[in-house]
């Protein structure tokens, strides 16, 4: 066949050390124009450690598309920290109050809050009730996942938005009407 002839001719052409046709792999040798020097391993690791400080960080939270999944998860953690942090702070302050001369028993606290303007009371109630209701409802959502319910993506989104809506409604009710 003609293809066999071409192949043989190609081999013959490659075999001939010709000035015009042959290109060996040596033509593509990488040529480094910089001189190198020997560096002991410890110093090399120092260079690497210093270079690591210059490495950029990939963006993560700033580029991830906002979704109810991870927004609700971070809000769950934030509300939990707010509530528990407040409890811890109150507990430590209550223990330290006699030493510091503060009055944190119920009587003094109620008297102080009673003297606030209505808007301050409503704002304080919303600031406490929204985290509480959201964290509780989202906690139930988490517990349902722990027993294996509600894992379909559409269900996760629906329950997430339901928790947000119910939290807003619940905290409004508790702040204004309860």
């Amino acid at each position: 066949m003609a293809s066999q002839r071409v192949f043989q001719l190609g081999l013959r052409r490659a075999g001939v050390p010709s000035l015009t046709k042959v290109h060996t792999a040596g033509r593509m040798v990488q040529r480094r124009l910089a001189a190198t020097q020997h560096v002991p391993e410890a110093e090399g690791q120092q260079i690497l450690a210093k270079q690591r400080l210059n490495r950029p960080n990939s963006p993560h939270l700033s580029i991830y598309r906002p979704q109810i999944t991870w927004y609700a998860s971070s809000l769950n953690r934030i509300t939990g920290i707010v509530l528990s942090g407040g409890l811890y702070v109150f507990g430590l302050a209550y223990l330290a109050a006699p030493t510091l001369g503060w009055h944190l028993e119920t009587q003094s606290l109620v008297a102080a809050v009673a003297s606030w303007p209505v808007i301050a009371k409503v704002a304080a109630k919303m600031a406490v009730s929204f985290p509480f209701v959201f964290h509780s409802l989202n906690g139930v959502r988490h517990l349902s996942w722990d027993v294996g319910l509600g894992f379909k993506n559409i269900t996760v989104m629906q329950t997430g938005w339901a928790v947000v809506g119910l939290s807003v409604a619940g905290s409004l009710y508790l702040s204004l009407f309860a």
Partner: protein, 200 residues
Amino acid sequence: MASIMRTGLLRPAFQSPAASSRMLSTFASASASATIKRSSPLAHQLRPQFVRSTIPKTTRVAAFHATRRTQILPPLPQKIQGTVNDPAPVPHPEYTHGSYHWTFERLVSVGLVPLCIAPFAAGSLNPVMDATLCALLVLHSHIGFESCIIDYIPRKRLPVLRAMADWALRIGTVLLGLALYSFETNDVGITEAVKQLWHA
């Protein structure tokens, strides 16, 4: 298919030293077997009219930076540990830190659900229920803060800060337990206190 009769078609495929050397980042060694000198007029003719001139200047400059110039949490002083051939360290499994901890955490959370609804339904709680609520709240808060510390202060990167955070949390939890016990005993208890403050 190029035929042996038409070898002229095959010749251009071999005859492109100048163009190929320009496209590659490695230099082709100008050895004695080089056919066309890079500076010769023939090389200029064979060199492809490259695409560079067709890219507008504006898009050639990389103006997009995904990282800010000064980082919010700059990297800590780096220490090279081990070599690239060392396997990733596998932690020793402990049931108390793993499966049992998980189960205990869920049990506490489940227990908190009725205890948080009951005050709304019944007005206030009797001291035993209140004490149970306090205990579960203390445990739940401790476990929650522990997860935050584990997530944000890795032991390998910040050993001292992690140890300090762990101990600060333990001491804080013990003090909170004492505080709530004192509040329960000498004062009205948390459900009654919240109720009074709410209707102040």
